[in-house]
C-alpha cells in the first residue's frame, strides 16, 4: 500500500473504513523515508518510535469507536522543522552550535499537532538558525529539491517543503521570518502558509526575529494545510507566548465557496519589478485570469512603501537575531570548546566554532545596527517604515479581500549559484513586507515554469487575522491547477491505483 500521495482526509477515510491501520500508515512513511531521504536529506532526525506510538493511540481510538473525537490530524504523518522543540529529540537549528542539544521541553505548535492525533516522523533540515533561502547554510549539509536534485529546495524551511513534496510526510511545520515558508513551498511545488503574526504560538520555536517569526504548515493540498492550521489554533491563545492570540476560525470552512464576488488585488509594482523572471510573471498573470474567470474582481492596488521593506527587514531581523542568539554561549548547553584558559576564550572559540558564517554575519550586523548612534539611523527608522508598510496594507484592504503576487522572483536555483549575501537576500523581495506588517501570506502551486519546468507558487496575502480569505482563493487556484503532485522522481507506484 502506498500512502505517500494521500491527503489527510484520504488517510482518515481509509482508517475509518478499515482499509489500513494507523500503524501501517506510520510504517509505510518510515520505510519511504528510509528509502528516499538518503538522497534528499530533508530529515535530520527520525522518530519512528514516536510515530508508531502515536499510531497505536489512533488505532486504539478506531477500535474503541472514538476516532472522530481525535483531532484534525488524526493518523496523519507529520514532521517538524528542526528549530521546534520536541522533548527528548534534538533541536539543532541545523547548527554546529546545537548538534548535541536534546530538548527538555516541547514547543506549543508541536504539542498541538501531536494532540491533534498526528504521527511524528522526525525533525527537518533548514538553513542554520533560519538564516538563508536555500538550506545551503545547514551545518549538516543541504536538502535537495525533489523536482531537480541539482537545485536548492529554498529556505529556510527547505527540509519541510522538500519532505512534503517528496511524500516523506503529509504535513510539516516550518517557520517564516521573511519568506521561509512561502519561498521553499514555491520552489518545491507545495502549499505553504505563513499565518498572521500571533495566530500560531511561537513558544518553543527557536527565535530568529521575534517580531517577524511565525509558524505555519506545509501540505500538498490546501485542505490539509487548513486542517493543520485548525490544529495549531485549537486550544486558543497560548499562555506561554504573549504575542499569541485566540483564534476561533475554521480554516476549512470556506474552501468550497469559490471566489465569485471576491475582490482580489494585484500590485503593479510587484509585477513590473526588476528581477522578476518572465516565466514567473506569466504564471501569476495566468492565475489572475483564472480567478477572474471564476468570478473574482481583479483590482490594482499599490503598496508604495513595500520597496523599503527589504532594508527594514535587514535591519530588524539581524537586530533581533543578534540578541536572540546571545544565549548560545557554551555555558548551559551547546557547543563548547574545552580546555580554555578563561571564560572569554571559551566564549570566543565556542561561538566562532559553533556558528556558521551567515549566523556570525547577522549577529555582527545586528550588534552594529543597535549600537549607540547607529540605532537612530537604522533601527528606529526601520520601525517607522514598518508603520508605513502596515498602513499600505490596511489601505489596500479597503479595496480588496486578498492580494495575489509572486512568491519568489524566480524558480529554484542551482546549488552554489548565488554566493553573495545581498543577492541571496533578494529572493525574499515579495515576501518580506508581509512579515514586516505581520499579516498572513501563503504560497500555492500554479503549475510549472514554461522555461525551467520547475514549480512556481503564487502568493496570496490576507488582511491581518483574515487568513481564511487567502485559503478561500487558494482552494480556487487548486481547483484550477489540480492538487500538488508528489515530485515525479519520488512518486511511488501506488499498488492500489496501479490496477486502475
Amino acid at each position: 500500500m502506498n500512502f505517500t500521495s494521500l491527503s489527510a482526509p484520504e488517510i482518515q477515510n481509509g482508517l475509518k473504513q478499515g482499509d489500513f491501520s494507523a500503524a501501517e500508515v506510520a510504517q509505510a512513511s518510515i520505510d519511504h523515508i528510509a528509502r528516499a531521504d538518503e538522497q534528499l536529506h530533508s530529515y535530520l532526525e527520525f522518530t519512528p518510535e514516536a510515530a508508531l506510538e502515536a499510531a497505536k493511540a489512533v488505532d486504539a481510538a478506531l477500535a474503541a469507536g472514538t476516532f472522530d473525537e481525535l483531532g484534525p490530524l488524526a493518523g496523519v504523518p507529520v514532521a517538524f522543522k528542526d528549530n521546534m522543540n520536541m522533548e527528548g529529540t534534538h533541536t539543532t537549528c541545523s547548527s554546529h552550535m546545537l548538534e548535541n542539544y536534546v530538548s527538555p521541553y516541547t514547543a506549543t505548535c508541536v504539542e498541538r499537532v501531536l494532540q491533534a492525533g498526528a504521527l511524528p516522523l522526525g525533525k527537518l533540515n533548514m538553513d542554520e538558525f533560519a538564516f538563508g533561502s536555500s538550506t545551503e547554510t545547514s551545518y549538516f549539509g543541504p536538502t535537495l529539491n525533489p523536482w531537480d536534485l541539482e537545485r536548492v529546495p529554498g529556505g529556510s524551511s527547505g527540509g519541510s517543503a522538500a519532505a512534503v513534496a517528496a511524500g516523506l510526510a503529509t504535513v510539516t511545520l516550518g517557520s517564516d521570518t521573511g519568506g521561509s515558508i512561502r519561498q521553499p513551498a514555491s520552489f518545491c511545488g507545495v502549499v505553504g502558509v505563513k499565518p498572521t503574526y500571533g495566530v500560531v504560538s511561537r513558544y518553543g520555536v527557536v527565535a530568529f526575529g521575534s517580531s517577524l517569526d511565525q509558524v505555519g504548515p506545509f501540505a500538498r493540498t490546501v485542505e490539509d494545510a487548513a486542517l493543520a492550521l485548525n490544529a495549531l489554533v485549537a486550544g486558543g491563545k497560548d499562555r506561554m507566548d504573549c504575542t499569541s492570540q485566540s483564534i476561533n476560525t475554521d480554516f476549512t470552512a470556506n474552501l468550497g465557496d469559490g471566489v465569485e464576488g471576491m475582490r482580489i488585488g494585484i500590485v503593479p509594482s510587484f509585477m513590473e519589478a526588476e528581477g522578476l523572471d518572465a516565466e514567473v510573471k506569466e504564471r501569476i498573470e495566468e492565475a489572475a485570469q483564472k480567478l477572474k474567470d471564476a468570478g473574482a474582481e481583479i483590482i490594482e492596488v499599490e503598496l508604495p512603501n513595500a520597496q523599503a521593506a527589504m532594508s527594514a527587514y535587514y535591519v530588524l531581523g539581524p537586530c533581533e537575531a543578534f540578541s536572540n542568539l546571545a544565549r548560545f554561549d557554551s555555558v548551559r548547553y551547546g557547543y563548547c570548546v574545552e580546555g580554555c584558559k578563561d571564560l572569554a576564550e571559551q566564549y570566543e572559540l565556542s561561538r566562532a566554532g559553533g556558528f556558521g558564517l551567515e549566523a556570525r554575519r547577522r549577529i555582527m550586523l545586528g550588534s552594529y545596527l543597535l549600537s549607540s548612534g547607529v540605532y537612530d539611523k537604522y533601527y528606529y527608522p526601520a520601525q517607522q517604515v514598518r508603520t508605513l508598510i502596515t498602513q499600505d496594507y490596511t489601505y489596500a484592504y479597503h479595496k480588496v479581500d486578498c492580494i495575489l503576487a509572486p512568491v519568489s522572483p524566480r524558480t529554484a536555483f542551482k546549488f552554489g549559484e548565488i554566493n553573495d549575501p545581498t543577492s541571496m537576500y533578494l529572493s525574499d523581495m515579495f515576501t518580506i513586507s508581509i512579515n514586516i506588517a505581520g499579516n498572513g501570506g501563503m504560497s500555492v502551486p500554479v503549475g510549472l515554469g514554461a522555461e525551467s519546468g520547475l514549480p512556481i507558487g503564487a502568493q496570496l496575502i490576507s488582511p491581518a487575522f483574515r487568513d481564511e480569505n487567502m485559503f478561500r482563493v487558494a482552494a480556487e487556484l487548486e481547483r484550477c491547477y489540480g492538487a500538488a503532485p508528489v515530485a515525479p522522481a519520488f512518486a511511488q507506484v501506488d499498488p492500489a491505483k496501479a490496477g486502475e
Partner: protein
Amino acid sequence: MLLQWLLHSLRSILQRLVSNVKKLEEVLQDWEAVIGLEVHAELTTLETKMFCGCKLEFGADPNTHTCPVCLGLPGALPVPNRAAIESIVLAGLATNCDIEQHSMFYRKNYMYPDMSKNFQITQGPVAFCMRGHLDLEVDGAAAKERVDLKEAQENGSYVAHIGIERIHMEEDAGKMVHVGGGEGRIAGATHSLIDYNRCGTPLIELVTEPELRTPEEARLFMQKLRQIYLAIGISDCSMEEGSLRCDGNVSLRRRGETKLGTKTELKNMNSFKNLHDGLAYEICRQAEVLEEGGIIYQETRHWDPSKKRTIVMRVKETADDYRLFPEPDMAPFDISREFVEEVRQRLPELPDQKAKRFEEDYGLSAYDARHLVEHRTTARFFEECMRLQGAGEVAKPLANMIINDVAAYLNTNPEITDLAQTALTPPRALELVTLIAQDKISSKQGKEVFAAILEEDKDPAAIVADRGMEQVSDTGAIEAVVDGVLAAFPDKVEQYKGGKTGLLGFFVGQCMKEMKGQGNPKVINELLTQKLDS
C-alpha cells in the same frame, strides 16, 4: 590613559598610607558632595519569578527552581507576572511617583554568565514609575554637615526633598560561586559555579535624582525607603541576603560651583552603616585627590568595610553600550487610571502618615512619632498599648520607653521580628510605665524591671515586690533621713550655704544610700533644697 591612571592609583594608595585623611565634616566645609542612589529590591513576597512560573525561594538546592524561560533555553518566551506589575505600581504610589500610562520592556544586551539569556529584560526611557520624591527629616549632629543650609545650622534640623527619577521593573541574575581564589573572590578563582534559581527574580530598581548631599541623607533615604517597601509588603528588604541592594554615585564640587565633577560608582554597601561609611570615605578620598590637584576617574569602586576603604573594581573608559531595544516578545503596557486606583486602594498607611497620626492622636512630638514608626514592630506595639489604654498621659513616656529600651532590645536581638515572641506584652509595658509615672519606682529602677520582664516573664508589679523596689515617697519617712544626713555632715552644709550648691547631689546620694535606693529622688530633692535654702 590607562598607564597614567595606574600610576595615579599607586600614588594615591601610597599617600593614603602615610597621610591623615580629613574628616567628613571638615571636607564638607569646602566641598559639596553630589550623591545619587540606585536601589534594587527583589520582590520576595511574590510566589513566582518575573517571567515564568518558577517558585521564588531563597536557599534551595542549586538549579532546582528553573525552567526553559529562566534557563534561557532556545525557544522559550517571557510572560510577565501581573502581581509584579502591581507591586511596582504600589511602590511608585508610595514614593509619590507618576504612574506612566504607556511603557514597555526593553532588552539590555550584555554577555555575562549569570544572566541566562545574555540580555536582561528591563525598561527603556519610560519606566512604570517616574518623577517621585521622598522628604527626609534630618536632625542630630549630621544636620550640621549641611553648611549651605541656614535652617540646618540654626535649628539643627532640616527637611531634605529628594527627587526620584524613576522606578523600573527588571529581572535579577543567577548566583555565582567563585572557586579556587581567596575568600570566594573572583580574582584568582580557577573556575566558577552558576546557580540560576535566582535568575529571573522580579526586581525593581529605584534611581534617585543626584540630590543627596551627605552620607547621612543617603542613609536616611535608604532607611525610609526600606520602611515604605516593608509597609507595602513587596519585599523582605534584607540587606544581608541581598534582597535590598544599594549602589551610590558620588562626585564633589567646590561650594558655590554649579558644574558637576566626575563621579565614581560605589558598590557593596550592604547595610545602613556601610552605606554611610562607604560614602563618607569616598567623599573624603575624592576631596583629598582633588585638593592635591589630582583627577577623579570615572570608575566603579568596592567598599571594603573591614579595611574601611573603597577599592577600584573597574575603570569605565567609555559609557557602556548595552544595545537597548524594545523587547519584541512582550506586548507593551497601557496602565489605566482604573488599574492605578485599584492598586491605590491596597496602599496601607505609610510610615509618614502613621507618624503624623501618632502626633495628632497621641500628642507625641514629631521626633518621637518618627522614631516610633521606624520599625513596624515598635509602631505596632505602641498602637496595641494605645488600644488598651487610650492616649492619656502614658503615651509620651510609653513612646519614650519603646524608642529607647524596646528599640535597643530589638537592635541587639535582630531575630525578634515581633514582640509577641517575647514576654513583653502591652499590659506589662503599660503597667511599667504607670509605675514610673506614679513615682512607685524610679526611672532607673524602671530599666531594671524592663530587663527583668523579658528575662523572668513576670508582671512588673510582681518584680517590684520580689525585689523590694517599692519607692518610698512618704515625706515623713524621708524627712527623718534627710535630717539625719544634714546633721551628719555639718561642714558640707556650711559649704553649701557658702555657695557650693553643687553639693546637693552629694546629699541626695547620701539619702538614697540610707534608703537603699528606694527613696523617691524627687521628694528627697525637694526636702533637701527646702531645708538647705531656708
